[in-house]
Subunit: 197 residues, 2 copies
């Protein structure tokens, strides 16, 4: 239908977003068109604004709206303590828990021999520089518990050995988790790391 | 984090779309920011364009970019044959099947005593007018097989009785459907409407 070209193009673009497919993109676009003054136009404006202002923090790799992100710029965050994460989404998840008061370093992925990702493709050199310039004493490795994540954690641990205190997130039963639904690996890790009550 | 206000606002707006929640909205926004030149800015532009141009067809209620939609304006579509659907999404689904060559009429919902939706809240008066002005001979009721959909179909059938040929979509086993997974109502309908081979 020739006069739906604009709308079809929008549906196609929305369908490319992660978590949306053609069907949900159609539903979302119809919903937005029905509320175009309340939803579609403001969303378009906000996207244009973010497209202009969003940038990676030059220091840690977090995504924000300034060259140095709010966390790196904050005087309230402890210096000398860096939490290493794979991805900005992981950093945001840590921030939602609102328990970590140090700073972050976003690697931007994991080492992967298969995909040809080496240390220089990640922000590992920048991490090594920060260890010196920010007088870091502890590095927390908060990488995902996948094969690639653990390979990367080992590589970073090798590089930093003897220079800083290295820690990693505890593994065990998630809060609210039921044993019956946990995988064997998690149960094994939780049992091995059992604590006196 | 003060400098994420713009990004947080975008995530909140995306999370209001049907089919997206806070988590998938965050993922989508991060994905868009990473590809801002390829995805975020073009999407913003396209949304702004659609917000300006999208409108309801004055004749049938379809959503397009002109006052009379491409289907109503097309000379290739049979006149005198109208398919009545609840929603624009239903019309688009019918068009994807690309088998119906008549025109449509979008009701914009169903009659519902509970929600206080009466005939005048839907595009039923407009349908009655079209029956006369377009010299309609057949009306296909393609309403959803829900209680409200069937109530609405009955109401329209009452209004049109004797004035046009009334038909409705066949009910039965969906193509590719397995009997084992079908509900009793569908099996009953399919059995009652059985055809000689």
């Amino acid at each position: 239908m020739s006069d739906r070209n604009d709308i079809d193009a929008l549906i196609e673009m929305m369908a490319r977003l992660p978590g949306l497919g053609p069907r949900s993109a159609r539903r979302a676009v119809l919903h937005m068109i029905r509320k175009r003054a309340l939803l579609l136009q403001p969303l378009a404006d906000q996207m244009a604004r973010v497209a202009q202002t969003a940038r990676e923090c030059l220091n840690c790799g977090n995504i924000g709206t300034s060259d140095i992100c709010a966390i790196c710029a904050s005087e309230k965050r402890a210096t000398g303590l860096i939490c290493v994460v794979e991805d900005v989404a992981d950093l945001w998840a840590m921030e939602r828990a609102a328990v970590f008061k140090g700073r972050y370093h976003v690697l931007g992925g994991t080492l992967s021999a298969l995909d040809g990702v080496g240390p220089d493709d990640l922000r590992i050199p920048a991490l090594l520089t920060r260890i010196e310039t920010e007088a870091v004493t502890e590095v927390i490795l908060a990488l995902n518990a996948t094969v690639d994540g653990m390979t990367t954690a080992h590589y970073i641990a090798d590089q930093l050995e003897g220079r800083v205190t290295l820690t990693s997130l505890a593994q065990g039963v998630p809060i609210g988790g039921e044993l019956d639904y946990l995988d064997d690996g998690t149960i094994t890790a939780a049992l091995n790391a059992r604590k006196p009550v």
